[in-house]
């Protein structure tokens, strides 16, 4: 039945979850942290926390980028392949130029440029040429994956120790991975203050109305895709530091987990409602689910099913929590 046809329900009990659509995810996050600590007493040690963070970081970054596309009621199914493409471009340039400081600068710049261009291509296809987002980004994703295989057919490439040691190290006593995450958070906080952000949410809420109000709808959607490309690029570069090499398939699973993380974080796939902070939390929850299952020493053959069920339950729970809010907006 359509929403209008259901009788008005008392709303009082829902106010809290409406104001904080990812409240459930916070609860799940705390719960998972508790379970993880019980199973792995070293969980709270700073070194373990940092190593967890560095393994969650690529997914977290991609989830932040995906948030903006989804807020505009679009979707990016190519985001994982952009990660792969950027990853192999940067690793190959750094490797082929002998790992000099110049090669590192060049590799990182080329990687970032590739990510931004890929996002721009997606945005232009979807917003200017008016292609359907799901099919379009699937198709561009196939192209990006092909290009990644062209740049580097097999995982490999050698990155100079200085690079990955710098990545594993820190600045001002704070690990690099934490800086990257803080950078992502800073970006999110900054964007939230921009006129673009409100235009994006308006576009996601009702594109026709946004257009009639005079908002530059196409430019806003393209910008969202470029932001997604940017975050995918950063994730690709982070993976160069993490694995010290390039892999044309490294981002394959990131597309779907980014969407899961965004939904877990209370962002509605229908656009308009949500936040990057929720997506960060969603990505952490996904990562912690993996951790808990690993440390619970569950028999190997059960792991996939349990993981699938937890994620499905969390997704439906998150959606139901966020729903009251999405319905009203």
């Amino acid at each position: 039945m359509p929403d209008t046809a259901r009788p008005a329900r008392p709303r009082r009990g829902r106010l809290l979850t409406q104001r904080h659509p990812y409240l459930l995810t916070i609860l799940v996050f705390v719960l998972l942290c508790g379970i993880n600590t019980a199973l792995q007493p070293t969980f709270l040690l700073p070194s373990v926390a940092v190593s967890n963070l560095s393994s969650f970081l690529p997914m977290t970054l991609v989830a932040i980028g995906q948030t903006y596309v989804i807020l505009g009621a679009d979707i990016d199914l190519s985001i994982g392949t952009i990660v792969s493409l950027v990853n192999v471009i940067a690793a190959t340039i750094i490797d082929s130029m002998g790992g000099s400081p110049l090669s590192i600068v060049l590799g990182l710049t080329a990687g970032l440029a590739a990510g931004l261009l890929a996002g721009l291509l997606n945005g232009v296809c979807v917003a200017l040429l008016r292609f359907q987002p799901i099919v379009t980004t699937f198709a561009t994703g196939v192209v990006f994956a092909g290009l990644a295989l062209w740049v580097l057919p097999q995982a490999g490439g050698q990155v100079p120790p200085a690079f990955y040691e710098a990545y594993a190290g820190g600045v001002l006593g704070i690990p690099t991975v934490v800086w990257v995450l803080l950078g992502g958070i800073g970006f999110g906080l900054l964007v939230r203050r921009l006129r673009f952000y409100h235009a994006l949410r308006a576009t996601g809420g009702n594109i026709q109305a946004a257009y009639q109000t005079g908002l530059p709808v196409a430019r806003v959607r393209i910008t969202a895709y470029v932001i997604a490309g940017f975050f995918a690029a950063v994730a690709g570069l982070v993976l160069v530091g993490e694995t010290a090499s390039g892999d044309p398939l490294v981002g394959a699973s990131l597309t779907m987990s980014s969407i899961c993380a965004v939904v877990l974080g209370g962002t509605a796939l229908s656009g308009c409602v949500g936040s990057f902070a929720g997506s960060i939390l969603g990505a952490f929850v996904l990562g912690l689910i993996n951790n808990v299952i690993f440390f619970a020493q569950m028999p190997f053959e059960w792991q996939g099913l349990v993981q699938g069920l937890i994620i499905l339950a969390a997704l439906s729970g998150g959606v139901m929590m966020a729903r009251g809010r999405a319905d009203r907006t």
């Binding site: 039945m1 359509p2 209008t4 046809a5 979707i75 199914l77 296809c125 040429l129 008016r130 292609f131 359907q132 799901i134 099919v135 379009t136 699937f138 198709a139 561009t140 994703g141 196939v142 192209v143 990006f144 994956a145 092909g146 290009l147 990644a148 295989l149 062209w150 057919p153 594109i207 026709q208 257009y211 009639q212 709808v217 779907m256 969407i259 899961c260 939904v263 796939l269 229908s270 190997f300 053959e301 059960w302 792991q303 996939g304 099913l305 349990v306 993981q307 699938g308 069920l309 994620i311 499905l312 997704l315 439906s316 959606v319 139901m320 729903r323």
Partner: protein
Amino acid sequence: MQSLVTLLKRPLAVALLAILVLLAAGELLSPGFASWRQIVSMVTIAGLLGVVAAGQNLVILSGHEGIDLSVGGIVSFGAFLAGNLMQQTDARILPAVLAVMVITFAIGLANGLGVTVLRVPPLVMTLGMFGVVKGGLVLLTRGIPSGRAAPLLQAAVIRPLLLGLPGIVFIWAALGLALTLMLRRTTFGLSLYAIGTNERTAAVAGVPVLRTRALAFGLSGLLAGLTGILLLGYTGNVFIGAGDGYALPSVIAVVIGGTSLAGGAGSYVGTMAGAVFLVVLQSILTTLSIPEFGRQVIYGLTLLALMLIYGRQRRLRG
């Protein structure tokens, strides 16, 4: 001239024309590409994609951002289950097929209930279900492939029946006929178009919106299970993730066939043409001995070019 332009705007015509162009190009580049034997083998493979895409088509027609990304996992699951239940024994085919259909229908219905009762967006629900089905498959197989097709099933699927065409092509054609009749002549089919076009008016008109949509998901699961059985018959035995890659191509086949992702408009005949087109495109790229990366790039660019022709959305008006 006018009528030619309008014809070219019809997705089915575009898909058929594109198939002919590809066949001609293939024949030119590699003589023998468009030989009857080659065409038969391409249509056979398209049959597998076409049956999954049938379920996908129903879900997409039902609107409400309908999409079923769990079908790939269900194909793998169906193939595994069928192989283990029939154990190369002809007498066990019927119970095995029935069991697979009941179970995969139940999985699809679970998707449908999640989407309608819990109101989880289809993309999320079916993506989550994909994880669950994959996990269940690992639990059952313990990572070791098992199960083989019964000889009769293999014969029914791949042995040439008429004009060199194997059984699966006739099964597919029968399904196409049945589905087209169902969509055009039955209450369920018309309800599907109604809820896909405008859910509220359909509800006001007395269409059971939730039941219709849940059933579409159930049938999508069932048809994916059927694909698993056919895949088992086609290959004899299947590796564990054999069907995983079917999800997105099935969506693409539906879209190329002219069904709107917004729901409410489209036909299964178009989807069948879309499935054939995808397979012909894939095999032309394989035949040309282009390296893997080139194949992928051309495949993606062709899809984009097709979107340019008719996959465009309405212009915003002030």
